[in-house]
Symmetry: D2
């Protein structure tokens, strides 16, 4: 029997749960888990249901759509492995962490490619038998570089998520709008503190006692997309900013890994500039 994850986002109305549950019941779909949330401020209804059964996903979508309000977004996903692309620059800790999970079979995804503006990480990546694309940004404009990246990405059949595993280049809105809510970034600070360059230097200068990391979807505004996951660690006066950076790496990689897991399990709704996570 197949398992389907059904994500419904709709203007809130009375009876939505009943109508969905009725369709599941009449089609012999067994509910394995179910979560709902209503954002009263936005009058938005969110429901994620995992069902087991045998049904045509397109037909199920139609039946649900017929009962739901206009403007409802319905997504039905078979629980298959997703295709992801990793983008990185020179730092190995986040990328390496994903690769180790992948090698150990702990990542429910196919890594179809790794893109980097440097060749630094190629030796590390070569062990994992994943195509590595070095797209240098030297001597070309930002737009030219992004065009090359986009045409490389276009080679892949279908990309579910692009993971910016410490990709240290700013992306233009022209680029990011190609992949709305599909690009996950790890920012090396507890957003919205220390937006921008070298957050660890900023944190050190401010004398904070905690540093953090934030995984978020990328939108047009740098560091301002919907937050998926955050965490922190304690530091003290003896930390130079480089020590903060080194300690911060452990938070970065764990926070990104958690966010990626949520995405791969279809647990994230984007609700304006926020997320609803089941």
């Amino acid at each position: 029997m197949n398992q389907y994850r059904i994500l419904i986002q709709a203007p809130d109305r009375s009876g939505l749960v009943y109508k969905a549950a009725k369709i599941f019941y009449e089609n012999n779909l067994n509910i394995i888990s179910n979560n709902e949330f209503v954002d009263n401020e936005q009058n938005q209804f969110f429901m994620r249901t995992v069902v087991a059964g045998d049904i045509d996903a397109k037909r199920l979508n139609e039946m649900l759509a017929a009962e739901m309000p206009e403007e409802t977004s319905i997504t039905i996903k078979l629980t298959r492995k997703k295709n992801i692309v990793l983008m990185a620059t020179k730092e190995a800790h986040v990328l390496g962490d994903i690769l180790i999970r992948y090698a150990e079979g702990q990542l429910d995804a196919n890594i179809v490619g790794i893109l980097s503006n440097y060749n630094t990480l190629r030796p590390l990546c070569s062990h994992f038998e994943i195509p590595y694309y070095h797209i240098s940004a030297d001597n070309i404009t930002r737009e030219e570089h992004e065009a090359k990246v986009l045409s490389t990405l276009a080679m892949f059949d279908s990309i579910d998520y692009i993971v910016l595993a410490k990709y240290m280049r700013i992306l233009t809105p022209e680029f990011t709008k190609q992949y709305p809510n599909k690009m996950i970034n790890i920012h090396h600070s507890f957003l919205p503190a220390f937006i921008g360059a070298n957050p660890y230097k900023q944190a050190h200068q401010r004398g904070v006692k905690i540093i953090g990391a934030t995984a978020h979807f990328v939108n047009e505004n740098l560091d301002e997309g919907p937050i998926i996951e955050q965490d922190v660690i304690h530091v003290d006066h003896a930390y130079e900013w480089q020590d903060m950076q080194q300690a911060g790496r452990d938070v970065e990689k764990v926070v990104l890994a958690r966010a990626l897991k949520l995405a791969l399990e279809d647990r994230i709704f984007v609700n304006g500039n926020k997320t609803v996570i089941f």
Copy 2:
């Protein structure tokens, strides 16, 4: 319009969500929030729904029961303030924390009485205009003392929860079985580590780097009831056991407060020796 919290625990069957949602829909009950979980190991279905509307709770219970499997437990609670009794010994931090929340209107409960085997806390409690019952355990047997406590508890009209706010006496099974899943205790360790007396001394002796606290329902076996909430803090070699104890107080009071909030909001199911918390 009233709000009701409906808690259903049942042997898992197909269609339970549909059947419940249908009844809510046909009775014009609007679903405000809804959570479900299936424990596959135990084949148990758990569902907590908050609805708004106007209905006789008894009638609703009957309608639900008619559609659910035998052996289903259904609880319907109006979102009214619950009655709680606090039991303490000499330490003020947990009890005082609850009283401050109460005074500030942050505790959704009526504290109908405070019982202690000492008079130590009476001056503190006197400020909050809550009856204080000193039931000394001196020169009487454990059974005699418990009989006195039980007869004092019997004076109250209706007790939703008894909160052991550092009540440092062991209760007999004869006592605890009077209030199944209604007594919440705070244990000053991360259970199941350091069961029994003076966990801080045990923790110090073992040289742990973390100490914790556990809020749990009390059953016949000391420190072994279903766990509701736990948390920890970091310590180091410079902590004497008394320092651990002092630092631990902050975890104890916060963990108990969180557990009590969950109970007052009817978010806890007891599932054998575990809890399901929505």
Copy 3:
């Protein structure tokens, strides 16, 4: 035998530890604990030593000063209880938490007075036998109000620390410069995120997954003084900003309590706009 806490902050030079240790040794002062740190960026040396023995503090200060570089700051404190004043507005949770610790003998300080711009907290405070000063801000200018507060503070013999236990009024630089590094504030966010008014609303709007609290010394710039202590808790999409606020109270009170404990134990050096904490 007396215990002294000796805090030395000096331009870094070779031999400082040796020179101090020599004086302690020659005066039969037994070192109970000792911590040092050098801020290389600022070329500052920090040393906190707890010694037991019998000596005139003034004489000891002179001996140390004679061996240390010019511009050295030396503070010698007998481990006596400090005098603190609490300032609050209407919220009870932080103030109440301090009072419960006080009542239980867990606070190593004398609370010599409580000041508030409202009378709201008087009933709560009355139980703890601490003078309560209601200094209304109604119908007077900020300067007039601060003058009244200052003249009330002037009544006390000696104030070691002023604790702003959710004192919700902005203080002018004229006020704050009267008590440099002596006023401890709890800010209801993880600074520097969400500076200013209603951080919980800001946090909710940004969709963060973590909220925090920051205890810091107050200087002329609102929310920008040296940070003493910070901590966070996790939240999710189901939190309204009011839920964040309620959950945040537990972090606020615990973080302020930790910061106050550090201050009462003379563990904090102010190093420019940062702190060094042993």
Copy 4:
């Protein structure tokens, strides 16, 4: 100029700091950092000093020993890279995490070899150019297997630490006594809770809300050596024990990495069955 880390553990006496500081001063050794702690219960003095200068370590040791009480343990280490051996079984997450740090230059050590009772991890390790020794335990006794492991270890010039990166075999006291306070293990629970086999199953069965990991030195008694570092993460009722295991991997690898860093920086004293960590 060289940097030396000087670790002194001695029966507590008056004047120890002075005597050590005098020697450092007279030999033109500049104190970069210094920490002391006295365990009053055991009457033990611990001091770790980092100095910069130019001196013969053996001569410095003699000078210090001449001034210290009998039974003092003095260790002087140049801040050079240490040699470590990794031992693993089949799981890649802890081992892989160390290897990524190593590849990125974040590990201040030479990994001289990797030993495993399986060949499973050889492909992963092959990328990092570290000798991999497969020492099968099939069809031989525990003693025979350990003899083979010991003889492989004996091949290395000098081993500072052996890191058990999820080495899932029990070691006999005969083995562990060869490397006292030199073997670091990661145990997949918050010790002393859930000693022994499959702690995640035990944790799931007990219904805990937190799971943890513990890095400790290995001594003769399984899971009872001095604890170096611990941490935890929150879980809930929806976690099967396998989910706990998967989530726990992130704690395991981070906790072991922190413990290893402390060891490589010579920050750990063993104090009976506990650690003192600066």
